[in-house]
Symmetry: C2
Subunit: 432 residues, 2 copies
């Protein structure tokens, strides 16, 4: 029986495994974690709206009824592309006939890897609970702090990067300060917090059309967020951020900085470079062919955030002939996962798989209560209807019916009470 | 205005603060954590039924509407009983007129503090997610392990201590192995797991009447748990447990051991001993007077798990004149918290507070689905009605309406599907 090994249980890997249901193949899904994580809602864990268990579903549960799938908890460490073996940490080898690599992305600090200490990014459950700790602890520390300057530093929050994640975090932080914590403290006024959203390009949500960027910026300003575009961060430490802009160099004293500016791929990309001759782009994504395979290795497919997949005119509104790679978003990974499964089955039938074609169904970003932007290419809108659509789509794609019910209830309570239910400070406090 | 300082936001401290609503006192509640934890359901987090956020509620939310209460995140480190100052870690001093100490209990390993590494106890959210990690990881490791003896050690679970927590953990573990994971693995059969429940006294649930202990033991055996009573644990390490019984010395190879055998009090008990002349019992509980105050310090009250409060015949069915201290359970702490508030208000009016009297409303312990024991003194029953009562009481006392709804839904899903929704392996893996 044809053996398919999938690395990664994110959107790409999970949708590939599901699309192989009932097929005459033996599937092994390898992941370092035992759960599929719904990353688009991770910022809601970081901001105390949801609990980790509500946006994660055990991979074994999701695939339990699929008898041709085996789930293995393990870390892919190396590859023997001649012998067609995936080597796990601890030296176990898993033989494959087709390998699907979908190990996703992680935070990237460009030339400053040390910034990860003071400006955590948002990629895992642990990241999210650590950021939740940092945010909530800042208000607690401010409440106790008698010195006004140090109190102000506790109440200053800097988010680096104004893509969808940065905008979502900034909006949620503003709602925490303005609404959730309004009556909770006696010495401080949380609504006096400063929330700064820094972005290198000239506008927030740079991948969206300009009109929607402008709408998002208005919503942010209304919430009390200060978007600063066209700035470059030159230093981050425990006490704040230094930035450069047209106005010169500026220092912001802030005890809480969050990174939402850059990602790179899993270490597995370098393994593919060394062991299978793959070419990586500047963000270490694997440049794949039209069938998502590594050139020279039709039996190795790379999908999702790890893949650099060029497709002319993938988005309406972009100039034709544009060779921008597909963005690292869930719909791309889902479609590539399903494509990978179909293409394996086509080859088993002796057919040549058709080239992968991304169907762009639109882009969404949420800012806060009743504030979101939607870009369907022809249709673009923002405000309440965009927000309702965002809610609907996210509930729809959340894995497991139980999680949909729990998240729906949490959102309902939050909408009615302005309170956030998962405001726990757990784990160790990194610094006082 | 009379200043009341409460240390600890568990059942004792929270109920004291709530009972002071509207009273002409200034209340400061100090806790190391920003949330009230519903400890009776902590084992359900450890066994993947509930998420941490569902059994915890932010103290600030719970007390936001009570204008005379201030919540302070901080750790009580020392006491100046002459100057009536509570000293926090970091040297801030909080002045009090009355101090209520309700800092609770923590795990205690008697003469073997090193056992905490290999046999974690269940007292905090972090403990619960670490135990959840240990339990779920053991099945994952067994699935990958080719050697039968090592596989068996991964599938052997030892719980030390058969009080309510130990019985609850053992029952839940058996249900995970028998039902939840039944179809999830391809190489192992989770239902072949061995679950051993070790207890030093001659029966499980030793504080319950003998007939209920026997009923609980039958339920455990039915679930496949092996209760071993009258045994003494002499060694615990990463590879297993050594125990002594009437049959001699025995070694159990097990990669997962959980501690549910002993508790001691917070370090604050020793501070009270040194700074206020308090006397501690063998479990380091503070021996309090009939009004719960430290002898010689009517302005310092100790309540909840930290207090050694004797009360003759506190339980029906116990011989009269029995001087056993009240047990460390939630109802005792709640009643003592309310009493502390009433007694402060009585003194402010110039009255002498009446002595504290515990009204025992009964004891409950749950084993698993449709299996629980209830001891109301005169009425004792077990099985389905006891289980339904247990569910009802725990939902009723859970703080915040939202959590009640979420937990109710989680339980409903689990009852119908046998699945557990919060089966995440998070944090670092302690050992391979």
């Amino acid at each position: 029986m044809h053996r398919v090994v999938i690395v990664g249980g994110g959107f790409g890997g999970l949708y590939a495994a599901k699309a192989l249901r009932g097929a005459p193949v033996e599937v092994t899904l390898v992941d370092r974690r035992n759960f599929h994580l719904f990353q688009p809602l991770l910022y809601q864990v970081a901001t105390g709206s949801l609990s980790p268990g509500e946006i994660a579903a055990p991979l074994r549960s999701l695939l339990a009824s699929q008898k041709n799938v085996r789930v293995l908890l393990g870390e892919a460490a190396d590859l023997d592309s001649q012998g067609r073996l995936l080597i796990l940490a601890g030296d176990a080898a898993v033989p494959y006939d087709t390998l699907i690599v979908a190990a996703g992305a992680r935070n990237h600090y460009f030339a400053h890897p040390d910034w990860c200490v003071d400006a955590p990014g948002l990629k895992s459950i642990e990241d999210a609970t650590a950021i939740r700790h940092k945010i909530l602890y800042a208000f607690e520390a401010a409440e106790r702090e008698p010195d006004p300057a140090r109190r102000r530093a506790w109440l200053t929050f800097v988010i680096v990067g104004a893509g969808p994640t940065g905008v979502e975090l900034a909006g949620a932080l503003a709602e925490i300060a303005n609404d959730t914590l309004r009556n909770d403290f006696r010495s401080i006024h949380p609504e006096e917090s400063r929330i700064l959203l820094l972005e290198g390009s000239p506008r927030v949500l740079p991948t969206f059309p300009e009109a929607l960027s402008a709408a998002a910026e208005r919503s942010l300003v209304q919430l009390g967020v200060g978007p600063r575009t066209g700035v470059r961060v030159t230093a981050i430490d425990a006490d704040g951020v230094t930035l450069e802009s047209a106005q010169g160099t500026e220092r912001i004293e802030a005890n809480t900085t969050i990174w939402a500016a850059g990602v790179t791929t899993s270490e597995l990309a370098q393994v593919l470079e060394q062991r299978a001759g793959a070419t990586l782009d500047r963000q270490r994504r694997v440049i794949v062919g039209a069938d998502l395979s590594v050139p020279g290795h039709p039996e190795i497919l790379v999908i999702g955030d790890m893949a650099h997949c060029e497709q002319a005119r993938f988005e309406q509104g972009q100039s034709s002939g544009d060779r921008t790679p597909l963005p690292g978003v869930a719909p791309v990974a889902m479609q590539q996962g399903r494509y990978a499964a179909r293409s394996i089955l086509a080859r088993l039938r002796g057919a040549t798989p058709r080239r992968f074609r991304y169907r762009d169904k639109g882009n969404l970003a949420v800012i806060g209560r009743a504030a979101a932007v939607v870009d369907f290419g022809k249709f673009r809108f923002h405000g309440l209807p965009a927000w309702l659509l965002w809610l609907f789509v996210h509930l729809l794609y959340l894995a497991q019916f139980r999680n949909r019910v729990l998240v729906f209830i949490r959102w309902g309570f939050q909408y009615l009470t302005f309170d956030r239910g998962a405001r726990l400070i757990t784990g160790v406090t990194p610094r006082e």
